[in-house]
Amino acid sequence: MDSLDFTVVLPRLPLFIQGAFMTVQLTFFAIVFGTMIGLVVALAKIIKFPIVNFIAGIYTWVFRGIPLLVQLVLIYYGLPSLGIEFTAYQAAAIGLSLCGGAYIAEIIRAGIQSIDKGQMEAAHSLGMSWSQAMFKIIIPQAYRRLIPPMGNEFITLLKDTSLVSVISMVELLRTATIHASSSFKPFEMYITAALIYLLLTTFFTVAFGRLESKLAISE
C-alpha cells in the first residue's frame, strides 16, 4: 500500500474547481430545461386529449426506461451514424435535460393531481378556462408540494452529471480520472472529487430545506 499524499491534490485544485464548475453548469441546464420539458409533458399527460396523453406517455416511458448512460452514448456516439452530430457539451446537456424532464414531468403530474378536484370545478364554475384554472389555481397550490421531490430530483441530476464523463466531457469526475492516472494517486484524486460532489449536494439539500420551511410558514 502506498502512503497517502494529499499534497499532490493542491496544485491541481484549480483544475478540480474548473471541473466542478462544468458539473454545476450542466446541472443548471438540466434543471432549467428539464423543468420546462417536465411542465409541458406533465400538462400533456393531464389535458383531456388522448393523442397528446399518449405521446407524453411514450416520452416518459422511453426516457425513464432507458438508462441515462445508454441515452448519452446513443446521442453522442450513435446519432452521428444518422448524420446528427452534437458536440460532447451539447450531447450532455440534451441527454440530461431530456431524461431529467421525464422524471420531473412525473413529479409535476403527481403534484397537480394531488390537488382537490373541487378546485378545478370551482374555477370552471366561475367561467375560467382549463388553462386559466391550471395556471392561476392549480399549479400555484401544487408548487409547494413539489418542492421536496423537486429538490431530490435536482440532487439526482447533479449526481447524474458524472455519467457524461463517458462522452469525454471534462467535468468533475473526468478531471479526477485524468489526474488519477497522471499522478499515480487515484485515491487522493477520486476522494477529492467525491468530497466536492458531497459539498454540492449538501448545498442543494440545505437550500431546499430552507425553501421548504419558508413556504411552510407562509401557508
Binding site: G118, Q119, I137, Q141
Partner: protein, 250 residues
C-alpha cells in the same frame, strides 16, 4: 330561465338521471330534496356543464348548454362558449372550494379579472361590496384556512356573485357546517332570494325551503317523483316515497 327537457345521464352503466324535466322561471327559488344518490348533485352539475348529459337538452336563458346548432345539426359547443355560459351561472359547493392560496378578497376578484377582464380596481371595489353584503368586510385579507366554515361558505357565495350571475346553484351549501353556523349562510341565501335571484338549491334545510322556496322537487332514483309548493310537499305529500323520505329527515 332554465328549461331542462327530458335529460338522462349515466356514469358508465349506472344511470343516474332518467329523463328529468324541469322548468325554472326567472326569479324562482326551487329547492331539490331527495335521498343520497338520487342524482341531485348530478342534476345541478349538468346545468352548468360540469357533467355532460347523454340525452335530452338544457337551455339557460334561451341558450343550449354544451350543444350548438351548426347547419341545422346539433354538435358539441366549443369550450369557449361553455366557459361563457358557466360565467353566468354561479355555483356554491358543499365543501366551499375556496382557493386556499388566495386571500378572501383575491378569491372574489380572480374570476372577474381573469374571465371578464375587469380592472383590478373595479374588481376590488366589487369584492368589498360583496363582502359587506355577506357581512365579512373585516375578513378581506384573511386566508380561507383562518375562517370558520360558515364564513368560508359566505365568501364562496360572494365569489360566485362577483360574476353577476343570473342563476345561482347551491349544492347542499350548509351540510358540512356545524349546526350553529348554518343560520348565517341561510340568511345570506334568503337575502338573495328576496332580491329576485333565480336559485336552484339542493338542501335538506326545511326552514329555508318553507320560507323562501317557490317550489320543492323531490327526487328519487334519478327521477323527479313529486313537485309542488313547500306547504303541500311537506304537509301533504301525494307520493308514498316522498312521505317515507320526509319521515326520515324531519
Amino acid at each position: 330561465m332554465i328549461i331542462i327537457d327530458n335529460i338522462s345521464k349515466s356514469f358508465g352503466t349506472l344511470e343516474v338521471l332518467k329523463g328529468v324535466s324541469l322548468y325554472v322561471k326567472p326569479g324562482e327559488v326551487v329547492v331539490v330534496i331527495g335521498p343520497s344518490g338520487s342524482g341531485k348533485s348530478t342534476l345541478l352539475r349538468c346545468i352548468n356543464y360540469l357533467e355532460k348529459i347523454n340525452s335530452g337538452q338544457i337551455k339557460v336563458d334561451g341558450q343550449l348548454i354544451g350543444r350548438k346548432e351548426v347547419n341545422g345539426r346539433l354538435v358539441d359547443a366549443p369550450n369557449k362558449e361553455i366557459y361563457k355560459i358557466r360565467s353566468g351561472i354561479g355555483m356554491v359547493f358543499q365543501r366551499f372550494n375556496l382557493f386556499p392560496h388566495m386571500t378572501v378578497l383575491q378569491n372574489i376578484m380572480e374570476a372577474p379579472i381573469s374571465v371578464k377582464k375587469v380592472s383590478k380596481q373595479e374588481a376590488a371595489e366589487l369584492a368589498v361590496q360583496l363582502l359587506e353584503k355577506v357581512g365579512l368586510e373585516e375578513k378581506a385579507n384573511a386566508y380561507p384556512a383562518h375562517l370558520s366554515g360558515g364564513q368560508q361558505q359566505r365568501v364562496a357565495i360572494a365569489r360566485a356573485l362577483a360574476m353577476k350571475p343570473k342563476i345561482m346553484l347551491f349544492d347542499e351549501p350548509t351540510s358540512s357546517l356545524d349546526p350553529e353556523l348554518v343560520g348565517e349562510v341561510l340568511a345570506v341565501m334568503k337575502d338573495l332570494a328576496k332580491e329576485g335571484m333565480t336559485m336552484v338549491v339542493v338542501t335538506h334545510e326545511m326552514s329555508f325551503a318553507k320560507e323562501v322556496a317557490d317550489r320543492v322537487i323531490f327526487m328519487d332514483e334519478g327521477k323527479i317523483v313529486e313537485e309542488g309548493p313547500p306547504s303541500q310537499i311537506f304537509t301533504n305529500p301525494s307520493h308514498p316515497r316522498t312521505r317515507e323520505f320526509l319521515v326520515k329527515i324531519l
